[in-house]
Symmetry: C2
Subunit: 163 residues, 2 copies
């Protein structure tokens, strides 16, 4: 690719990113409220996001994923375990290692959290359908995270409040 084209591409990318990032920033409050409603700290949410109900994850793997100290991982998992969202099992192969999984209750909270975070901000609906389609199709080509496919957005309804 010619330098000319590359630099134009960089400029387009920069402008696209700036606008997207800007939009994301303006909707941060909505996401904060989601966490508040589910009574989760940002750390809780991240922890929840790294676990699942089927395959246990080792503490070390979690610490590596979160780029934190092993003792911090202990602390993060403890928080969820205390609330009945996660539990530690022992590996049959190596009794030193713990395998952390979500409880059914934890999985339910995880699903609620994802549904709420994946619900598009109302401002997004002010766009024309054509623009949304363009947005979706371009975004589809972005590298995506490790999250499993989402369930229907109707899951957001009727979230019970704890107290």
């Amino acid at each position: 690719m010619a330098d000319r084209a590359r630099s134009r591409k960089a400029a387009v990318a920069a402008e696209a990113w700036r606008r997207i990032f800007d939009f994301i920033a303006t909707t941060a409050d909505q996401r904060d409220r989601v966490l508040e409603r589910l009574d989760l700290t940002p750390g809780d949410a991240r922890t929840l996001g790294s676990l699942n109900q089927d395959e246990g994850r080792t503490m070390r793997a979690l610490a590596r994923e979160w780029r934190c100290d092993a003792s911090t991982a202990t602390w993060l998992v403890d928080r969820l375990e205390r609330r009945g969202f996660a539990k530690r099992g022992s590996s049959p192969e190596d009794r030193r290692v713990k395998l952390v999984t979500l409880t059914p209750r934890g999985a339910k909270t995880q699903a609620r959290l994802r549904a709420a975070l994946f619900a598009p901000p109302p401002e997004l609906l002010s766009l024309e359908v054509a623009d949304l389609v363009a947005l979706r199709d371009a975004a589809a080509k972005l590298p995506s995270g490790p999250w499993p496919a989402p369930r229907a957005a109707a899951e957001l309804q009727r979230v019970k409040r704890r107290s």
Copy 2:
């Protein structure tokens, strides 16, 4: 608009959002590293983002924007002031009121921060130019935040708060 069309639009929006949000989440680490490199906490960055060199902002206005207690705003501004990034002036009209502005050094750090945060993640450049253009054009129609352009909202109105 027909219900049919509305629901399709919602579905497209949901998918677009999910993908964008997902991408943003996967690039969070890069932004964390930006803050680390500039030796700023998230709170510092937010504070820096709300100030400018020209028009001073009152503590009360900042607390309202940040949705925090007045004493928290004091604490946040203190942090920047201690590092020479911000300074407090007195309003000529009301001696109770402090007007917070950025110092030249603070403005420089603010510019660096924005430049770094607005730099598109490398993964974005893996898209075709056509997709980037589509992304940019669609994103341009999103409501934008106050950052690139000077803030229009005059804050003369006083909001009565209940406590």
